[in-house]
Symmetry: C2
Amino acid sequence: MKKLSEMTLAVIGVGLIGGSLARVLRAKGSIGRVIGVGRGEANLKRALELGVVDSWTQHIEEAVKEADLVCVAVPMGAYAGVFSAMKTVLSEQIVFDAGSTKQSAIQVARQQLAGFQRFVPAHPLAGTEQSGVDASFESLFENRLCILTPEEHTDPQALDVVEHIWQVAGSRVLKMDASQHDAFLAGVSHLPHVAAYALVYAISREAEKQKGAYDPFDFAAGGFRDFTRIASSSPEMWRDIALNNREAVLNKMDAYQGALQEIRHSLETGDGEALLKIFSDAKTRRDAWVKSSQM
Amino acid sequence: MKKLSEMTLAVIGVGLIGGSLARVLRAKGSIGRVIGVGRGEANLKRALELGVVDSWTQHIEEAVKEADLVCVAVPMGAYAGVFSAMKTVLSEQIVFDAGSTKQSAIQVARQQLAGFQRFVPAHPLAGTEQSGVDASFESLFENRLCILTPEEHTDPQALDVVEHIWQVAGSRVLKMDASQHDAFLAGVSHLPHVAAYALVYAISREAEKQKGAYDPFDFAAGGFRDFTRIASSSPEMWRDIALNNREAVLNKMDAYQGALQEIRHSLETGDGEALLKIFSDAKTRRDAWVKSSQM
Protein backbone atom coordinates (compact mmCIF):
# COMPACT_ATOMS: atom_id res chain seq x y z
CA MET A 1 0.00 0.00 0.00
CA LYS A 2 1.15 3.53 -0.84
CA LYS A 3 2.36 5.91 1.84
CA LEU A 4 0.04 8.80 2.67
CA SER A 5 2.58 11.23 1.24
CA GLU A 6 2.24 9.51 -2.15
CA MET A 7 -1.53 9.45 -2.17
CA THR A 8 -3.99 11.66 -4.01
CA LEU A 9 -6.78 13.16 -1.89
CA ALA A 10 -10.03 14.34 -3.46
CA VAL A 11 -11.72 16.90 -1.23
CA ILE A 12 -15.40 17.18 -2.14
CA GLY A 13 -16.52 20.52 -0.73
CA VAL A 14 -13.54 22.83 -0.27
CA GLY A 15 -15.01 24.90 2.58
CA LEU A 16 -13.98 25.53 6.17
CA ILE A 17 -13.48 21.83 7.02
CA GLY A 18 -12.34 20.41 3.67
CA GLY A 19 -10.10 23.42 3.03
CA SER A 20 -8.51 23.26 6.47
CA LEU A 21 -7.78 19.52 6.14
CA ALA A 22 -6.15 20.10 2.72
CA ARG A 23 -4.13 22.99 4.13
CA VAL A 24 -2.67 21.10 7.08
CA LEU A 25 -1.84 17.94 5.11
CA ARG A 26 -0.11 20.00 2.42
CA ALA A 27 1.69 22.21 4.94
CA LYS A 28 3.15 19.09 6.60
CA GLY A 29 4.06 17.51 3.29
CA SER A 30 1.89 14.57 4.29
CA ILE A 31 -0.14 14.21 1.11
CA GLY A 32 0.88 13.66 -2.50
CA ARG A 33 -1.76 15.68 -4.31
CA VAL A 34 -5.07 17.36 -3.51
CA ILE A 35 -7.91 17.67 -6.00
CA GLY A 36 -10.66 20.11 -5.03
CA VAL A 37 -14.20 19.27 -6.08
CA GLY A 38 -17.30 21.42 -5.79
CA ARG A 39 -20.13 23.14 -7.55
CA GLY A 40 -19.01 26.75 -7.16
CA GLU A 41 -16.31 27.62 -9.68
CA ALA A 42 -15.34 30.84 -7.86
CA ASN A 43 -14.64 28.99 -4.60
CA LEU A 44 -12.56 26.33 -6.40
CA LYS A 45 -10.50 28.97 -8.22
CA ARG A 46 -9.96 30.73 -4.93
CA ALA A 47 -8.80 27.42 -3.37
CA LEU A 48 -6.24 26.98 -6.14
CA GLU A 49 -5.11 30.60 -5.77
CA LEU A 50 -4.66 30.13 -2.00
CA GLY A 51 -2.63 26.96 -2.60
CA VAL A 52 -5.20 24.83 -0.77
CA VAL A 53 -5.53 22.41 -3.73
CA ASP A 54 -3.28 21.34 -6.61
CA SER A 55 -6.11 21.23 -9.10
CA TRP A 56 -9.89 21.30 -9.22
CA THR A 57 -12.84 19.93 -11.11
CA GLN A 58 -16.61 20.20 -10.90
CA HIS A 59 -16.97 16.51 -11.76
CA ILE A 60 -17.00 14.12 -8.82
CA GLU A 61 -16.35 10.93 -10.87
CA GLU A 62 -13.33 12.51 -12.52
CA ALA A 63 -11.69 13.37 -9.20
CA VAL A 64 -12.63 10.14 -7.40
CA LYS A 65 -11.29 8.03 -10.29
CA GLU A 66 -7.83 9.57 -9.79
CA ALA A 67 -7.94 9.57 -5.98
CA ASP A 68 -6.71 7.14 -3.32
CA LEU A 69 -8.59 9.02 -0.60
CA VAL A 70 -11.89 10.85 -0.78
CA CYS A 71 -12.98 13.35 1.86
CA VAL A 72 -16.67 14.21 1.69
CA ALA A 73 -16.99 17.63 3.35
CA VAL A 74 -20.38 18.80 2.10
CA PRO A 75 -23.62 19.53 3.99
CA MET A 76 -25.57 16.39 4.91
CA GLY A 77 -28.28 17.31 2.42
CA ALA A 78 -25.79 16.82 -0.43
CA TYR A 79 -24.47 13.39 0.70
CA ALA A 80 -26.83 11.26 -1.38
CA GLY A 81 -25.95 13.08 -4.60
CA VAL A 82 -22.22 12.98 -3.85
CA PHE A 83 -22.13 9.26 -2.97
CA SER A 84 -24.30 8.39 -5.92
CA ALA A 85 -22.01 10.31 -8.29
CA MET A 86 -18.88 8.43 -7.15
CA LYS A 87 -20.50 4.99 -7.05
CA THR A 88 -19.48 3.71 -10.48
CA VAL A 89 -15.80 4.71 -10.15
CA LEU A 90 -15.20 3.40 -6.61
CA SER A 91 -12.87 0.42 -6.20
CA GLU A 92 -9.89 0.59 -3.84
CA GLN A 93 -10.37 4.19 -2.65
CA ILE A 94 -10.89 5.02 1.00
CA VAL A 95 -13.79 7.38 1.58
CA PHE A 96 -14.47 9.37 4.75
CA ASP A 97 -16.76 12.22 5.65
CA ALA A 98 -16.62 15.04 8.19
CA GLY A 99 -20.30 15.56 8.98
CA SER A 100 -21.79 16.46 12.34
CA THR A 101 -24.34 13.63 12.47
CA LYS A 102 -23.06 10.09 12.08
CA GLN A 103 -26.10 7.79 12.00
CA SER A 104 -27.49 9.73 9.06
CA ALA A 105 -24.12 9.65 7.26
CA ILE A 106 -24.00 5.88 7.66
CA GLN A 107 -27.58 5.53 6.47
CA VAL A 108 -26.94 7.47 3.25
CA ALA A 109 -23.70 5.58 2.62
CA ARG A 110 -25.52 2.26 3.10
CA GLN A 111 -28.20 3.28 0.61
CA GLN A 112 -25.88 4.71 -2.01
CA LEU A 113 -22.76 2.55 -1.62
CA ALA A 114 -24.35 -0.77 -0.57
CA GLY A 115 -21.60 -3.33 0.13
CA PHE A 116 -18.72 -0.82 0.02
CA GLN A 117 -16.64 -1.38 3.17
CA ARG A 118 -14.05 1.35 2.84
CA PHE A 119 -16.26 4.20 4.00
CA VAL A 120 -15.18 5.58 7.40
CA PRO A 121 -17.62 7.94 9.13
CA ALA A 122 -15.65 10.75 10.81
CA HIS A 123 -16.44 13.98 12.63
CA PRO A 124 -13.75 16.49 13.54
CA LEU A 125 -15.07 18.57 16.47
CA ALA A 126 -13.89 21.88 15.13
CA GLY A 127 -15.39 24.80 13.32
CA THR A 128 -16.25 28.44 13.49
CA GLU A 129 -19.41 30.29 12.48
CA GLN A 130 -17.67 31.15 9.18
CA SER A 131 -17.75 29.11 5.99
CA GLY A 132 -16.05 28.86 2.58
CA VAL A 133 -12.40 28.23 1.67
CA ASP A 134 -11.39 31.73 2.78
CA ALA A 135 -12.36 30.82 6.33
CA SER A 136 -10.19 27.65 6.33
CA PHE A 137 -6.89 27.55 8.21
CA GLU A 138 -4.13 25.06 8.93
CA SER A 139 -4.52 24.77 12.71
CA LEU A 140 -8.28 24.28 12.84
CA PHE A 141 -8.01 20.65 14.04
CA GLU A 142 -5.08 21.09 16.39
CA ASN A 143 -5.74 19.47 19.77
CA ARG A 144 -9.38 18.97 18.82
CA LEU A 145 -11.20 15.67 19.03
CA CYS A 146 -12.00 13.76 15.86
CA ILE A 147 -14.57 11.02 16.37
CA LEU A 148 -14.67 7.96 14.09
CA THR A 149 -17.81 5.83 14.15
CA PRO A 150 -16.95 2.71 12.13
CA GLU A 151 -19.48 -0.06 11.60
CA GLU A 152 -18.79 -3.73 12.25
CA HIS A 153 -18.00 -4.40 8.62
CA THR A 154 -15.81 -1.31 8.10
CA ASP A 155 -12.46 -2.28 6.55
CA PRO A 156 -9.83 -2.14 9.36
CA GLN A 157 -7.10 -0.90 7.02
CA ALA A 158 -9.30 1.97 5.81
CA LEU A 159 -10.06 2.80 9.43
CA ASP A 160 -6.33 2.93 10.26
CA VAL A 161 -5.59 5.24 7.33
CA VAL A 162 -8.37 7.66 8.26
CA GLU A 163 -7.28 7.64 11.90
CA HIS A 164 -3.74 8.45 10.76
CA ILE A 165 -4.94 11.34 8.54
CA TRP A 166 -6.72 13.05 11.41
CA GLN A 167 -3.79 12.51 13.73
CA VAL A 168 -1.51 14.15 11.16
CA ALA A 169 -4.03 17.04 11.08
CA GLY A 170 -3.39 17.46 14.81
CA SER A 171 -6.53 15.83 16.22
CA ARG A 172 -6.97 13.37 19.06
CA VAL A 173 -8.94 10.48 17.58
CA LEU A 174 -11.68 8.62 19.47
CA LYS A 175 -13.75 5.71 18.17
CA MET A 176 -17.30 5.11 19.30
CA ASP A 177 -20.72 4.01 18.25
CA ALA A 178 -22.53 6.41 15.87
CA SER A 179 -25.61 6.60 18.10
CA GLN A 180 -23.47 7.46 21.12
CA HIS A 181 -21.72 10.18 19.11
CA ASP A 182 -25.03 11.61 17.98
CA ALA A 183 -26.43 11.73 21.53
CA PHE A 184 -23.38 13.52 22.94
CA LEU A 185 -23.21 16.06 20.14
CA ALA A 186 -26.96 16.71 20.33
CA GLY A 187 -26.41 17.91 23.89
CA VAL A 188 -23.28 20.01 23.70
CA SER A 189 -23.46 21.25 20.12
CA HIS A 190 -26.82 20.86 18.37
CA LEU A 191 -28.94 21.95 21.35
CA PRO A 192 -26.90 25.13 22.00
CA HIS A 193 -27.35 26.11 18.34
CA VAL A 194 -31.10 25.54 18.52
CA ALA A 195 -31.24 27.45 21.83
CA ALA A 196 -29.30 30.43 20.44
CA TYR A 197 -31.34 30.64 17.22
CA ALA A 198 -34.55 30.37 19.28
CA LEU A 199 -33.55 33.22 21.58
CA VAL A 200 -32.67 35.70 18.83
CA TYR A 201 -35.83 34.66 16.96
CA ALA A 202 -38.03 35.16 20.03
CA ILE A 203 -36.65 38.60 20.91
CA SER A 204 -36.71 39.72 17.31
CA ARG A 205 -40.33 38.63 16.80
CA GLU A 206 -41.43 40.44 19.96
CA ALA A 207 -39.64 43.60 18.82
CA GLU A 208 -41.50 43.51 15.51
CA LYS A 209 -44.84 43.20 17.29
CA GLN A 210 -44.12 46.12 19.61
CA LYS A 211 -42.25 48.58 17.37
CA GLY A 212 -41.48 51.22 20.00
CA ALA A 213 -39.01 54.10 20.10
CA TYR A 214 -36.23 51.66 21.03
CA ASP A 215 -35.19 48.29 19.71
CA PRO A 216 -34.42 45.68 22.40
CA PHE A 217 -31.16 44.85 20.60
CA ASP A 218 -29.96 48.39 21.40
CA PHE A 219 -29.60 47.17 24.99
CA ALA A 220 -27.66 44.01 24.20
CA ALA A 221 -24.08 43.82 25.40
CA GLY A 222 -21.14 41.42 25.64
CA GLY A 223 -23.01 38.56 27.31
CA PHE A 224 -25.57 38.58 24.52
CA ARG A 225 -22.87 38.73 21.86
CA ASP A 226 -21.14 35.57 23.08
CA PHE A 227 -24.34 33.70 23.89
CA THR A 228 -25.66 34.29 20.36
CA ARG A 229 -22.43 33.94 18.37
CA ILE A 230 -23.50 30.50 17.08
CA ALA A 231 -26.79 32.00 15.85
CA SER A 232 -24.67 33.54 13.08
CA SER A 233 -23.86 30.04 11.77
CA SER A 234 -25.19 28.73 8.45
CA PRO A 235 -28.98 28.18 8.77
CA GLU A 236 -28.95 25.57 5.98
CA MET A 237 -26.24 23.54 7.69
CA TRP A 238 -28.01 23.62 11.05
CA ARG A 239 -31.38 22.77 9.55
CA ASP A 240 -29.73 19.69 8.05
CA ILE A 241 -28.03 18.75 11.31
CA ALA A 242 -31.22 19.17 13.35
CA LEU A 243 -33.28 17.11 10.90
CA ASN A 244 -30.62 14.42 10.54
CA ASN A 245 -30.22 13.99 14.28
CA ARG A 246 -33.85 14.61 15.02
CA GLU A 247 -34.42 11.97 17.66
CA ALA A 248 -31.37 12.87 19.75
CA VAL A 249 -32.00 16.60 19.40
CA LEU A 250 -35.62 16.21 20.51
CA ASN A 251 -34.36 14.17 23.42
CA LYS A 252 -31.99 16.92 24.55
CA MET A 253 -34.68 19.52 23.95
CA ASP A 254 -36.85 17.54 26.41
CA ALA A 255 -34.16 17.89 29.05
CA TYR A 256 -33.64 21.57 28.25
CA GLN A 257 -37.30 22.49 28.16
CA GLY A 258 -37.67 20.61 31.46
CA ALA A 259 -34.90 22.66 33.04
CA LEU A 260 -36.49 25.90 31.79
CA GLN A 261 -39.81 24.77 33.21
CA GLU A 262 -38.11 24.08 36.55
CA ILE A 263 -36.60 27.59 36.58
CA ARG A 264 -39.98 29.02 35.60
CA HIS A 265 -41.65 27.21 38.49
CA SER A 266 -39.03 28.46 40.96
CA LEU A 267 -39.55 32.00 39.69
CA GLU A 268 -43.33 31.77 39.87
CA THR A 269 -43.25 30.49 43.42
CA GLY A 270 -40.47 32.90 44.41
CA ASP A 271 -38.27 29.96 45.44
CA GLY A 272 -34.85 31.65 45.58
CA GLU A 273 -33.14 28.61 47.06
CA ALA A 274 -34.18 26.38 44.17
CA LEU A 275 -33.05 29.02 41.66
CA LEU A 276 -29.73 29.43 43.41
CA LYS A 277 -29.17 25.67 43.36
CA ILE A 278 -29.79 25.42 39.61
CA PHE A 279 -27.59 28.44 38.79
CA SER A 280 -24.83 27.27 41.17
CA ASP A 281 -24.82 23.70 39.81
CA ALA A 282 -24.48 25.10 36.30
CA LYS A 283 -21.68 27.48 37.22
CA THR A 284 -19.75 24.77 39.09
CA ARG A 285 -20.05 22.36 36.17
CA ARG A 286 -19.09 24.97 33.58
CA ASP A 287 -16.13 26.27 35.57
CA ALA A 288 -14.86 22.70 36.01
CA TRP A 289 -15.18 22.10 32.27
CA VAL A 290 -13.31 25.31 31.41
CA LYS A 291 -10.53 24.30 33.78
CA SER A 292 -10.19 20.73 32.51
CA SER A 293 -10.52 21.57 28.82
CA GLN A 294 -8.55 24.81 29.02
CA MET A 295 -11.09 26.28 26.62
CA MET B 1 -23.01 73.76 44.45
CA LYS B 2 -19.58 72.14 44.54
CA LYS B 3 -17.89 70.96 41.36
CA LEU B 4 -17.70 67.17 40.88
CA SER B 5 -13.91 67.37 41.25
CA GLU B 6 -14.38 68.74 44.76
CA MET B 7 -16.95 66.19 45.85
CA THR B 8 -16.55 63.11 48.03
CA LEU B 9 -17.98 59.90 46.62
CA ALA B 10 -18.90 56.99 48.87
CA VAL B 11 -18.89 53.72 46.92
CA ILE B 12 -20.89 51.09 48.76
CA GLY B 13 -19.74 47.77 47.34
CA VAL B 14 -16.27 48.10 45.82
CA GLY B 15 -16.62 45.30 43.26
CA LEU B 16 -16.51 45.15 39.48
CA ILE B 17 -18.97 48.04 38.96
CA GLY B 18 -18.24 50.22 42.00
CA GLY B 19 -14.50 49.70 41.64
CA SER B 20 -14.50 50.52 37.93
CA LEU B 21 -16.49 53.74 38.49
CA ALA B 22 -14.06 54.84 41.22
CA ARG B 23 -11.11 54.01 38.98
CA VAL B 24 -12.26 56.02 35.98
CA LEU B 25 -13.33 59.08 38.00
CA ARG B 26 -10.00 59.10 39.83
CA ALA B 27 -7.99 58.49 36.68
CA LYS B 28 -9.61 61.52 35.05
CA GLY B 29 -9.17 63.68 38.14
CA SER B 30 -12.94 64.15 38.14
CA ILE B 31 -13.65 63.35 41.76
CA GLY B 32 -12.34 64.89 45.01
CA ARG B 33 -12.21 61.82 47.24
CA VAL B 34 -13.49 58.24 47.18
CA ILE B 35 -14.47 56.35 50.32
CA GLY B 36 -14.91 52.60 49.87
CA VAL B 37 -17.56 50.88 51.96
CA GLY B 38 -18.23 47.17 52.28
CA ARG B 39 -18.45 44.18 54.55
CA GLY B 40 -15.32 42.33 53.46
CA GLU B 41 -12.21 43.86 54.99
CA ALA B 42 -9.85 42.02 52.63
CA ASN B 43 -11.56 43.44 49.52
CA LEU B 44 -11.50 46.99 50.98
CA LYS B 45 -7.80 46.72 51.86
CA ARG B 46 -7.16 45.47 48.35
CA ALA B 47 -9.09 48.46 46.91
CA LEU B 48 -6.90 50.85 48.89
CA GLU B 49 -3.76 49.01 47.82
CA LEU B 50 -4.82 49.22 44.16
CA GLY B 51 -5.49 52.95 44.52
CA VAL B 52 -9.18 52.50 43.74
CA VAL B 53 -10.26 54.33 46.94
CA ASP B 54 -8.68 56.98 49.18
CA SER B 55 -9.96 55.40 52.37
CA TRP B 56 -12.39 52.75 53.50
CA THR B 57 -14.78 51.90 56.28
CA GLN B 58 -17.18 49.10 57.12
CA HIS B 59 -19.74 51.59 58.47
CA ILE B 60 -22.21 52.94 55.95
CA GLU B 61 -23.41 55.90 58.10
CA GLU B 62 -19.83 57.05 58.65
CA ALA B 63 -19.08 57.19 54.90
CA VAL B 64 -22.43 58.64 53.84
CA LYS B 65 -22.17 61.41 56.47
CA GLU B 66 -18.95 62.63 54.84
CA ALA B 67 -20.08 62.13 51.24
CA ASP B 68 -21.68 64.40 48.64
CA LEU B 69 -22.41 61.47 46.37
CA VAL B 70 -23.30 57.88 47.25
CA CYS B 71 -23.04 55.05 44.73
CA VAL B 72 -24.86 51.89 45.81
CA ALA B 73 -23.17 49.04 43.94
CA VAL B 74 -24.28 46.00 45.92
CA PRO B 75 -26.49 43.03 44.93
CA MET B 76 -30.22 43.84 44.95
CA GLY B 77 -30.70 41.59 47.98
CA ALA B 78 -28.57 44.01 50.07
CA TYR B 79 -30.35 47.22 49.01
CA ALA B 80 -32.83 47.36 51.90
CA GLY B 81 -30.09 47.03 54.52
CA VAL B 82 -27.88 49.60 52.79
CA PHE B 83 -30.62 52.20 52.35
CA SER B 84 -31.84 51.65 55.87
CA ALA B 85 -28.34 52.15 57.29
CA MET B 86 -27.86 55.52 55.55
CA LYS B 87 -31.35 56.85 56.29
CA THR B 88 -30.57 58.85 59.44
CA VAL B 89 -27.52 60.64 58.00
CA LEU B 90 -29.03 61.61 54.59
CA SER B 91 -29.62 65.27 53.89
CA GLU B 92 -28.18 66.93 50.78
CA GLN B 93 -26.36 63.91 49.38
CA ILE B 94 -27.15 62.56 45.94
CA VAL B 95 -27.62 58.77 45.91
CA PHE B 96 -27.59 56.54 42.85
CA ASP B 97 -27.40 52.82 42.30
CA ALA B 98 -26.07 50.60 39.51
CA GLY B 99 -28.40 47.61 39.71
CA SER B 100 -29.71 45.55 36.81
CA THR B 101 -33.40 45.80 37.72
CA LYS B 102 -34.88 49.26 38.17
CA GLN B 103 -38.47 48.81 39.34
CA SER B 104 -37.24 46.78 42.31
CA ALA B 105 -34.54 49.39 43.11
CA ILE B 106 -37.17 52.12 43.13
CA GLN B 107 -39.47 50.04 45.30
CA VAL B 108 -36.81 49.45 47.97
CA ALA B 109 -35.77 53.12 47.88
CA ARG B 110 -39.40 54.18 48.33
CA GLN B 111 -39.80 51.89 51.30
CA GLN B 112 -36.54 52.75 53.02
CA LEU B 113 -36.08 56.41 52.03
CA ALA B 114 -39.71 57.59 51.85
CA GLY B 115 -39.81 61.23 50.74
CA PHE B 116 -36.13 61.43 49.74
CA GLN B 117 -36.02 62.88 46.22
CA ARG B 118 -32.32 62.78 45.50
CA PHE B 119 -32.14 59.07 44.67
CA VAL B 120 -31.41 58.45 40.96
CA PRO B 121 -31.89 54.88 39.71
CA ALA B 122 -29.11 54.05 37.24
CA HIS B 123 -27.92 50.97 35.33
CA PRO B 124 -24.65 50.92 33.43
CA LEU B 125 -24.92 48.20 30.76
CA ALA B 126 -21.48 46.82 31.32
CA GLY B 127 -19.96 43.89 33.12
CA THR B 128 -18.06 40.67 32.78
CA GLU B 129 -18.63 37.29 34.40
CA GLN B 130 -15.95 38.25 36.97
CA SER B 131 -16.52 40.01 40.29
CA GLY B 132 -14.58 41.76 43.08
CA VAL B 133 -12.33 44.82 43.02
CA ASP B 134 -9.55 42.89 41.28
CA ALA B 135 -11.82 42.48 38.27
CA SER B 136 -12.54 46.23 38.02
CA PHE B 137 -10.95 48.37 35.32
CA GLU B 138 -11.02 51.97 34.16
CA SER B 139 -12.52 51.49 30.70
CA LEU B 140 -15.43 49.22 31.69
CA PHE B 141 -18.07 51.86 30.88
CA GLU B 142 -16.48 53.32 27.79
CA ASN B 143 -18.98 53.63 24.94
CA ARG B 144 -21.48 51.57 26.90
CA LEU B 145 -25.03 52.66 27.59
CA CYS B 146 -26.01 53.83 31.05
CA ILE B 147 -29.76 53.98 31.61
CA LEU B 148 -31.30 56.33 34.17
CA THR B 149 -34.88 55.68 35.23
CA PRO B 150 -35.90 58.75 37.28
CA GLU B 151 -39.34 59.04 38.81
CA GLU B 152 -41.60 62.07 38.43
CA HIS B 153 -40.53 63.51 41.74
CA THR B 154 -36.79 62.89 41.28
CA ASP B 155 -34.77 66.06 41.93
CA PRO B 156 -33.69 67.43 38.51
CA GLN B 157 -30.36 68.71 39.83
CA ALA B 158 -29.54 65.28 41.26
CA LEU B 159 -30.47 63.74 37.92
CA ASP B 160 -28.12 66.13 36.08
CA VAL B 161 -25.21 65.32 38.40
CA VAL B 162 -25.67 61.55 38.01
CA GLU B 163 -25.97 61.91 34.23
CA HIS B 164 -22.72 63.90 34.25
CA ILE B 165 -20.91 61.27 36.35
CA TRP B 166 -21.73 58.49 33.91
CA GLN B 167 -20.78 60.64 30.94
CA VAL B 168 -17.42 61.32 32.58
CA ALA B 169 -17.09 57.55 33.02
CA GLY B 170 -17.41 57.26 29.24
CA SER B 171 -21.04 56.09 28.95
CA ARG B 172 -23.81 57.21 26.66
CA VAL B 173 -26.71 58.08 28.95
CA LEU B 174 -30.35 57.30 28.12
CA LYS B 175 -33.37 58.10 30.28
CA MET B 176 -36.49 55.97 30.25
CA ASP B 177 -39.23 54.51 32.34
CA ALA B 178 -38.13 51.82 34.81
CA SER B 179 -40.67 49.29 33.54
CA GLN B 180 -39.49 49.81 29.96
CA HIS B 181 -35.90 49.30 31.06
CA ASP B 182 -36.81 46.12 32.90
CA ALA B 183 -38.65 44.69 29.89
CA PHE B 184 -35.77 45.33 27.48
CA LEU B 185 -33.13 43.96 29.81
CA ALA B 186 -35.24 40.89 30.59
CA GLY B 187 -35.03 39.98 26.91
CA VAL B 188 -31.43 40.67 25.96
CA SER B 189 -29.71 40.07 29.30
CA HIS B 190 -31.73 38.23 31.94
CA LEU B 191 -33.22 35.65 29.56
CA PRO B 192 -29.85 34.70 28.00
CA HIS B 193 -28.46 34.12 31.50
CA VAL B 194 -31.41 31.91 32.45
CA ALA B 195 -31.10 30.07 29.13
CA ALA B 196 -27.36 29.45 29.55
CA TYR B 197 -27.69 28.26 33.16
CA ALA B 198 -30.59 26.00 32.12
CA LEU B 199 -28.60 24.39 29.33
CA VAL B 200 -25.54 23.53 31.41
CA TYR B 201 -27.85 22.32 34.20
CA ALA B 202 -29.83 20.08 31.83
CA ILE B 203 -26.78 18.48 30.22
CA SER B 204 -25.05 18.04 33.54
CA ARG B 205 -28.07 16.39 35.15
CA GLU B 206 -28.44 13.98 32.23
CA ALA B 207 -24.75 13.09 32.46
CA GLU B 208 -25.14 12.23 36.14
CA LYS B 209 -28.07 9.96 35.40
CA GLN B 210 -26.23 8.11 32.65
CA LYS B 211 -22.68 7.91 34.00
CA GLY B 212 -21.05 6.26 30.97
CA ALA B 213 -17.44 5.88 29.87
CA TYR B 214 -17.51 9.41 28.51
CA ASP B 215 -18.77 12.71 29.84
CA PRO B 216 -20.81 14.79 27.36
CA PHE B 217 -18.73 17.85 28.28
CA ASP B 218 -15.70 16.05 26.76
CA PHE B 219 -17.29 16.74 23.39
CA ALA B 220 -17.96 20.42 23.96
CA ALA B 221 -16.02 22.90 21.83
CA GLY B 222 -15.78 26.61 21.05
CA GLY B 223 -19.47 27.18 20.32
CA PHE B 224 -20.39 25.72 23.69
CA ARG B 225 -17.74 27.80 25.45
CA ASP B 226 -19.11 31.11 24.15
CA PHE B 227 -22.76 30.13 24.51
CA THR B 228 -22.25 29.20 28.16
CA ARG B 229 -19.79 31.93 29.20
CA ILE B 230 -22.51 33.80 31.12
CA ALA B 231 -23.33 30.59 33.04
CA SER B 232 -20.08 31.27 34.91
CA SER B 233 -21.58 34.47 36.34
CA SER B 234 -22.44 34.87 40.03
CA PRO B 235 -25.43 32.61 40.84
CA GLU B 236 -26.45 34.82 43.80
CA MET B 237 -26.51 37.94 41.65
CA TRP B 238 -28.57 36.28 38.94
CA ARG B 239 -30.98 34.72 41.41
CA ASP B 240 -31.60 38.26 42.75
CA ILE B 241 -32.01 39.72 39.26
CA ALA B 242 -34.43 36.99 38.15
CA LEU B 243 -36.55 37.32 41.30
CA ASN B 244 -36.52 41.12 41.21
CA ASN B 245 -37.58 41.27 37.60
CA ARG B 246 -39.79 38.22 37.82
CA GLU B 247 -42.73 39.42 35.77
CA ALA B 248 -40.66 40.66 32.83
CA VAL B 249 -38.41 37.58 32.90
CA LEU B 250 -41.43 35.24 32.90
CA ASN B 251 -42.80 37.24 30.01
CA LYS B 252 -39.63 36.78 27.94
CA MET B 253 -39.48 33.13 28.97
CA ASP B 254 -42.97 32.74 27.46
CA ALA B 255 -41.67 34.08 24.16
CA TYR B 256 -38.56 31.88 24.35
CA GLN B 257 -40.36 28.71 25.34
CA GLY B 258 -42.81 29.43 22.52
CA ALA B 259 -39.97 29.69 20.00
CA LEU B 260 -38.47 26.42 21.26
CA GLN B 261 -41.86 24.76 20.95
CA GLU B 262 -42.14 26.04 17.38
CA ILE B 263 -38.72 24.57 16.54
CA ARG B 264 -39.72 21.31 18.24
CA HIS B 265 -42.89 21.13 16.17
CA SER B 266 -40.96 21.77 12.93
CA LEU B 267 -38.53 19.02 13.88
CA GLU B 268 -41.24 16.54 14.79
CA THR B 269 -43.07 17.11 11.54
CA GLY B 270 -39.82 17.20 9.53
CA ASP B 271 -40.66 20.70 8.27
CA GLY B 272 -37.26 21.82 6.99
CA GLU B 273 -38.62 25.01 5.46
CA ALA B 274 -40.04 26.23 8.75
CA LEU B 275 -36.78 25.40 10.53
CA LEU B 276 -34.76 27.20 7.88
CA LYS B 277 -36.97 30.28 8.22
CA ILE B 278 -36.50 30.46 11.99
CA PHE B 279 -32.73 29.92 11.80
CA SER B 280 -32.35 32.40 8.90
CA ASP B 281 -34.42 35.10 10.61
CA ALA B 282 -32.26 34.75 13.70
CA LYS B 283 -29.00 34.87 11.76
CA THR B 284 -30.11 37.92 9.75
CA ARG B 285 -31.16 39.77 12.90
CA ARG B 286 -28.01 38.87 14.80
CA ASP B 287 -25.68 39.76 11.92
CA ALA B 288 -27.42 43.15 11.57
CA TRP B 289 -26.99 43.79 15.29
CA VAL B 290 -23.29 42.89 15.21
CA LYS B 291 -22.80 45.24 12.30
CA SER B 292 -24.68 48.17 13.82
CA SER B 293 -23.30 47.77 17.33
CA GLN B 294 -19.81 46.81 16.21
CA MET B 295 -19.80 44.28 19.06
